[in-house]
């Protein structure tokens, strides 16, 4: 048993035309027993910045609390929201601090810059940042997710088409992974609005 496959997770973020989408599955399990079908893995940092965390559920929640704390402190001091690149560097630094005793979570950061261009990035569990221009994936289903995204992704999609592509990629991939799935949730963020949809998926 691997530590990151104790709870199971699947996460994708994709870039569209002046928008981004971030999606995750909803299962929380303990090895092969499912405990919950509404577990939150994607957290809002501010209106235009979301972070998805895969891996051990306890570290997912701890990382979210620490990052929310740091961002709130930043907001109080700087009187503005953090830019996505800055936040990605913050996540990377917090994870690397624990280089020899890491948090078992692999974050995906997705945000919109002030000029509306989308930004996505992922890091491994010790903070090695990986920027991407198209999509990033994380979780126990990551190998299937890579394959599904490589074939389904197209650049410059609008919010509606991006939603369809990311949902189909997520659902196709979690169907090939026993320990993730049980529904899905997708947030599509444009400069004007955030559309959140829960997906109907296989509950097995």
């Amino acid at each position: 048993m691997s530590i990151t496959s104790y709870n199971g997770s699947a996460l994708i973020a994709m870039v569209g035309k002046n928008c981004f989408a971030i999606a995750s599955d909803r299962r929380l399990g303990v090895n092969f027993q499912t405990i919950a079908c509404d577990f939150q893995r994607i957290f809002k940092i501010h209106d235009k910045l979301y972070i998805g965390l895969s891996g051990l559920a306890t570290d997912v929640q701890t990382m979210h609390q620490r990052l929310q704390f740091r961002h709130k402190l930043y907001q109080l001091r700087e009187e503005r929201n953090m830019r996505p690149e800055t936040f990605a560097s913050l996540v990377s630094a917090i994870l690397y601090e624990k280089r020899f005793g890491p948090y078992f979570c692999e974050p995906i950061i997705a945000g919109l810059n002030d000029d509306g261009t989308p930004f996505i990035c992922t890091t491994d569990l010790i903070g090695a940042k990986q920027l991407a221009k198209d999509f990033v994936v994380s979780g126990t289903a990551s190998e299937s997710l890579y394959g599904a995204c490589e074939s389904m992704y197209k650049p410059d999609l609008g919010p509606d088409e991006l939603f369809e592509v990311i949902s189909q990629a997520l659902l196709a991939s979690v169907d090939r992974d026993c320990i993730s799935g049980w529904g899905g949730i997708v947030h599509v963020v444009t400069p004007d609005q955030v559309i959140t949809k829960t997906l109907k998926g296989r509950m097995d």
Binding site: M1, S2, K98, S142, E143, Y146, Q193
Partner: protein, 275 residues
Amino acid sequence: MTKSSVIQVPPKGGFSFDLSRRNAMLQQQGAKLPKYRKTGTTIVGLVYKDGVILGADTRATEGEIVCDKNCEKIHYLAPNIYCCGAGTAADTENVTDMVSSQLALHRYATGRDSRVVTALTMIKTHLFRYQGHVSAALVLGGVDVTGPHLHAIYPHGSTDTLPFATMGSGSLAAMSVFESRYKENLTREEGMEIVSAAICAGIFNDLGSGSNVDLCIITKEGKEYLRNYQQPNPRSYTRSKGYDFMNGYTAVLSTQIRQLRQHVQVLEGDRMDEE
């Protein structure tokens, strides 16, 4: 008598070992540690007539899966010093970022351009302190007032000063090219050709290296960073039509739309009476 309590001090930087005990307990219970992102890699450096040429491939792996097909392995240390990194990606990035900041402060304190041996000593003392656990193998190259320099740095902190160096899983493939073709006082074009050939040898023969060739040429006039200088592996399997999903194709249970911008509505109305 008050019970003494542990005062939480904010961390002053450096590594924190808070979770080590918990992680060791998990491993004892049989859980396997997840894989760190490594840079597999072929990285090379070569000294030519006017300076130094550094080269690297662009594949990053997580176990056996390629997680990044076009990552940057040539890191900035100073305007005249660059460093290629192999090994655990987080370690190479953080070591080079940290030394780059220290070099900048050193430049402000001394008022001089950085020297390659300064960067070398900073890196090797850091790596030796952590006894090889910070797994970064680097090829450091630059041109300073004393001339062009090239060094290879190993994860435990030992260094080699060489006219040509290769590191990473593809180092043997690259070294074979260097050993057969290197000579003193190469011209710029010859140097670039040999470095790209060495990286390509790594890309095609080593499974841990792949994708494109990045080059960085440093002379006393300045540097030239050629990102994706060669792309010998174009993608060949794109489906011409792609997938087209109709809107509304995916089954949705619930939808929530939150407006981010406030929409101001102007209503026509009577003027207010002013008294």
